[in-house]
């Protein structure tokens, strides 16, 4: 391991590691109960109904319990996300099972439950929209289009067999996914002299703050939000905490004391947002050698009952809809459909895993149709520097798609294994009455992920980060980035220390408290290290430069510099940085520097035509996943996953690998087991015994290879890595199953039940 000044690449221990593993870290639920009341939520039991009456029967409730309903909201009864039509509390109608209808608070959890039971709601049920077909007949919540070239004419030619083109069509589905963060949603609110203070588990303190200002019609100064220790989020704490904060604040106002709401697991699974289910249809025209010529992609997302973040999820989905490949002619149509189910929300990958699942399965379909193996087909179409995306964006030298593909294929010995499994399967028909109890197969996929906000989001925000000096002479980063397990509190100080010439110990990071830190943007979109980290580094560098300049003036000496927290002059070491900093402070010099993120000035994106550079750069990941399929029970065991991730620059290797491994496993879970089963709008599996996520025994052995093709921007050419590993693995799992037993599944999760249905239907209806 390298040591400072080579901080980057040194993988220092996580700052939050010790306190988390020892249990010293206090999550919201660990705070003392004293003086704090407990809030509970009364929820709709119907997917769609009119609220006929709502009554709180005080005689059945604990004497001092408080009750809040929509009528008590004097500001705006709407959750401010992109629009504000998602009600804080349903007033006239409910649109999903689990929608909040009323709130209660009482001194203890038991009392709160009794109070909730004393709320009587009379409903008149209405027909609910619960499936794709019906949702597709209604007005979509949102639509987007991306056109390039002359897609339809080419597809028509292919349909007629003209120009040597072949038409390949497919239809793909992915299901909802529950985040299942370990710490359930939790929030505490308190009003002090008309000022609202909220703390809890959240990714985006300023989203919560803005939402609260909106609901209570409060000015900027009247709301303080503090992000606490967070037991995981995966996107599930991007939007929903704003709603929970509003609930806690309403109750705290009614109860005139702090109120805390901590969801139990059932409630969390039932009521909070999920990954958008998707339905994709692809029509493509290819040459006989597999070259992609045109693709029409119709990408539908189930947005649930309210708009929420769906438009931006859709946007990312369509911008990744043809993967990291050259497709010169495209016609992409995206829609967010509305159903009477909980609003879908942010989840690691944000639409890109869904659209790339469809695309990668489609690539396999093309290969099957043309008799070209999956690697060769991808090689023929993969993006190289100098190629263009459907948006017209020119790929620069940091396009590592081919490098990732080759590395994964080589390390995973893909082609040889794939061919062998193909031969084995043709020879012994594993699902017939053959004697082989287990069939093995291997699948390959390639995906990419645009780093940072989509389009000109970063340009509009120009996120500020402040770095200031503490009294003892250390640097402190002030930003709104939150730590959800991804490593922000470790990597941001690393970047700042590296830029400023300090030891890591000399850089602190302040907790995300909106009274103290600037709005450096939400902790989402794989942007924290790349955008906030780069900005923090610049701010740290700037502040230390000012101090050095001041010192130079003081000493009448030029060419001073700070290295490894020491002040060096031409003649050697002059002193220690902390001392210098204290001297500087004592002289009454300004103690802080704020700088703004500077997105690449060349980046242009037209939000009407969807042309331009949607992201300044992209990271790439290919994986080879091996499975064993039990030929009697169709249970799938992923045995090995070899991933090659091209992430620009590896800053903290341990954390970077951790992201790839964790994302891989989450994607494998989505591919094989995780399924939200609904009947008449009711969730059937709202518990951990029935919502199946992988355990360690289900996890494949993982091998992660990191590749560096730095992009031109900071920090040091690093691109995002948080979401990338979620994008590709699901398709590779399905491809591996296909390789093993010949069931070509185009919808996930690939449960044994679904594999059997598909197998039986294929046997009955002949091969499609």
């Amino acid at each position: 391991m390298k040591h400072p000044p080579g901080i980057l690449g040194s993988s220092p221990l996580r700052r939050d590691g010790l306190e988390k593993v020892t249990g010293a870290a206090r999550y919201l639920d660990d705070l003392p109960a004293e003086g704090t009341w407990v809030g509970a939520t009364v929820r709709s039991r119907h997917p769609h109904a009119r609220i006929v009456s709502l009554r709180f029967d005080r005689t059945k409730a604990p004497a001092d319990a408080v009750f809040v309903h929509a009528g008590d909201i004097d500001g705006v009864n709407g959750l401010q996300i992109l629009d504000d039509r998602w009600p804080i509390l349903a007033s006239k109608e409910v649109h999903y099972v689990g929608e909040a209808v009323a709130l209660v608070a009482a001194p203890t959890a038991e009392d709160a439950l009794r109070a909730a039971a004393a709320v009587e709601v009379e409903y008149e049920q209405r027909p609910a929209v619960l499936d794709w077909e019906e949702a597709a007949r209604n007005e979509p919540l949102y639509e987007l289009a991306l056109d390039e070239g002359r897609c339809e004419a080419i597809l028509e030619a292919a349909a007629n067999g003209d120009d040597g083109l072949i038409l390949v069509e497919g239809e793909y589905f992915t299901g909802a996914q529950e985040h299942l963060y370990l710490e359930t949603q939790a929030m505490l609110a308190e009003w002090v002299d008309g000022r609202l203070a909220v703390t809890g588990s959240m990714q985006c303190p300023y989203y919560v703050k803005n939402a609260l200002q909106h609901v209570f019609s409060l000015g900027e100064d009247a709301v303080q939000v503090v992000g606490r220790y967070m037991g995981g989020a995966f996107g599930g704490k991007e939007d929903y905490p704003s709603l929970l904060a509003a609930h806690a604040a309403l109750l705290a106002r009614a109860a005139r004391r702090p109120v805390r709401i901590v969801y139990d697991r059932h409630e969390d699974i039932v009521a909070t947002t999920k990954r958008h289910p998707s339905h994709t249809r692809i029509r493509s025209a290819v040459k006989k050698d597999g070259t992609l010529v045109a693709a029409r992609v119709d990408f539908d997302l189930d947005g649930g009952a309210y708009l929420g973040l769906s438009p931006v999820v859709l946007s990312r989905g369509i911008l990744h809809a043809t993967g990291p490949y050259r497709v010169p002619n495209v016609r992409i149509r995206g829609r967010v459909l509305r159903t009477d189910t909980p609003p879908s929300g942010a989840f690691r990958g944000f639409g890109a895993p869904q659209s790339q699942f469809a695309w990668e399965r489609h690539m396999d379909r093309i290969g099957r149709r043309l008799g070209i193996d999956p690697l060769t087909l991808r090689r023929r179409n993969v993006l190289h520097p100098g190629d263009r995306l459907p948006t017209g964006q020119l790929m620069d030298a940091s396009c590592g798609a081919a490098a990732a593909l080759e590395e994964a294929a080589r390390r995973g010995d893909f082609l040889r294994r794939w061919k062998k499994a193909e031969e084995d399967r043709r020879r012994d028909e594993p699902l017939g009455r053959g004697n082989r109890p287990v069939a093995t197969g291997v699948g390959l996929s390639l995906a990419f992920h645009g780093a940072g906000f989509t389009g000109l989001g970063e340009h509009r925000m120009r996120s500020p980060v402040t770095v200031r000096l503490t009294a003892e002479g250390r640097l402190e980063i002030l930003c709104a980035a939150t730590e959800m397990g991804q490593g922000a509190v470790t990597v941001l100080p690393m970047l700042a220390a590296d830029a400023a010439g300090l030891r890591i110990d000399d850089v602190l990071i302040h907790e995300p408290d909106t009274d103290v830190v600037p709005d450096s943007g939400p902790t989402v979109a794989s942007r924290t290290t790349m955008v906030v980290g780069a900005t923090a580094a610049r701010a740290a560098h700037e502040l230390v430069q000012r101090i050095v300049q001041w010192k130079e003036e003081q000493m009448g000496e030029a060419a001073l510099r700070v290295e490894d927290s020491r002040l060096l002059g031409p003649g050697g070491e002059i002193g220690d940085f902390r001392e210098l900093a204290r001297e500087y402070l004592a002289a009454g010099q300004p103690d802080a520097v704020t700088v703004h993120n500077e997105p690449p000035p060349w980046q242009r994106f037209d939000e009407d035509s969807y042309h331009g550079s949607a992201y300044p750069t992209y990271s790439y990941q290919a994986q080879v996943i091996e499975v064993e399929v039990d030929t009697d029970t169709l249970q799938v065991r992923p045995t090995r996953a070899v991933a090659a991730a091209e992430v620009g620059k590896v800053l903290h290797e341990v954390q970077c690998r951790g992201q790839v491994e964790g994302g891989l496993l989450q994607a494998v879970g989505w591919a094989l087991w995780e399924e939200m089963k609904r009947k008449d709008g009711q969730l059937l599996n709202d518990r951990m015994t029935t919502y199946i996520v992988p355990t360690f025994l289900d996890a494949p052995e993982m091998e992660v290879h990191l590749i560096e093709e730095p992009w031109e921007g900071p920090p040091h050419g690093a691109k995002g890595v948080g979401e990338l590993p979620m994008d590709g693995p699901a398709s590779a799992v399905c491809a591996a199953i296909e390789n093993a037993v010949g069931i070509a599944l185009d919808s996930i999760p690939a449960t044994p039940e679904r594999l059997l249905d598909h197998h039986i239907e294929a046997a009955q209806g002949g091969r499609r």
């Binding site: 009455r433 009697d632 029970t633 169709l634 059937l684 029935t690 199946i692 289900d698 039940e753 059997l756």
Partner: protein, 297 residues
């Protein structure tokens, strides 16, 4: 917890406590009871803890009373001394069963199922008696005990009785255990030479079964005898697959028999769709697993 709760030291003490307050619940590892969230409730019933009762705990070989020393046809054993039974106390944990030498050597399918209950943590607390009395259709040890022709010992205020395990499960979560009675032990007859078990769960660990198959048999001159095949999670109670057994009885140990038995199994179950699986899948997997186990056993 109710003040009447406490720690009985003997079966009789426990029975007395059950008589005093008929709504008393006798708890062992608590892994089923706890999940139902009833302990914390204000109206929770009084409970007694069975874990301090020595007699309920442990594994020992006991002599078969001579009157009962009948052996299954085809088992060749010394006719003079009746072979011993293995007695497993009701509060013996799956963690203990998993590693017990007599179980591992004589009843490998019981050791195997023990190692597949929940996780290691659960196995350290979950008891065999709790699994039987809880009587979930997905209880993993149930089909194994059916296949092994176990008996169960029940203590009531009137004394002890032994019944074949075949007669223990009466209906969905309904057992032959009367009010105020305790399950004290499971008794296993001498080990059958052929045994096989397969749990088809929702994932590799901490999984509830979608289908289970357990089987045990003797063989003579290349033919099956005393075949017992049991299935779980395909009916309200664990069930014997009598039609499949019948196919095997006296039939040659070969692929044809296995295939025919698998078809018989297919026809004799009526599984349901539920949150964990589908009727179609359960029937398919059951049939294929029956065939596989017969080929491998």
């Amino acid at each position: 917890m109710n003040p009447a709760s406490g720690l009985p030291r003997t079966v009789d003490e426990a029975l007395l406590r059950l008589q005093e307050r008929p709504d008393t619940v006798a708890l062992a590892g608590c892994t089923d009871w706890m999940v139902r969230d009833r302990l914390a409730r204000a109206d929770a019933p009084p409970v007694i803890d069975l874990l301090a009762i020595e007699e309920l705990h442990g594994i020992e070989e006991i002599a078969t009373p001579p009157s009962e020393a009948k052996r299954p046809a085809g088992a060749d054993a010394d006719p003079t001394t009746p072979p011993p039974l293995l007695r497993i106390g009701a509060t013996t944990t799956f963690g203990e069963i998993r590693v017990d030498r007599r179980v591992v050597e004589g009843y490998p399918i019981l050791a195997e199922v023990a190692s597949q209950i929940g996780s290691r943590q659960i196995q350290n607390r979950a008891t065999l008696g709790g699994n039987l009395v809880n009587a979930s259709p997905a209880g993993d040890s149930l089909p194994v005990l059916l296949a092994l022709a176990a008996e169960v010992e029940i203590a009531s205020p009137d004394g002890r009785r032994r019944i074949p395990y075949d007669a223990f499960h009466l209906g969905y979560r309904e057992t032959a255990l009367g009010p105020g009675e305790l399950l004290t032990a499971v008794l296993l007859p001498p080990p059958p030479p052929h045994q096989a078990f397969r749990k088809v769960g929702t994932r590799a660990a901490v999984a509830i079964s979608k289908v289970m198959v357990a089987m045990a048999a003797h063989s003579r001159q290349g033919r099956w005898s005393s075949m017992r095949i049991a299935a779980g999670s395909v009916a309200p109670v664990p069930m014997r697959l009598r039609a499949a057994e019948k196919v095997c009885e006296g039939a040659p140990i070969d692929v044809e028999t296995a295939t025919e038995a698998a078809e018989a199994a297919w026809g004799e179950v009526e599984p349901i769709d539920d949150v964990r699986s589908t009727a179609r899948y359960r029937r398919w997997a059951l049939s294929r697993v029956v065939r596989r186990l017969l080929l491998e056993m």
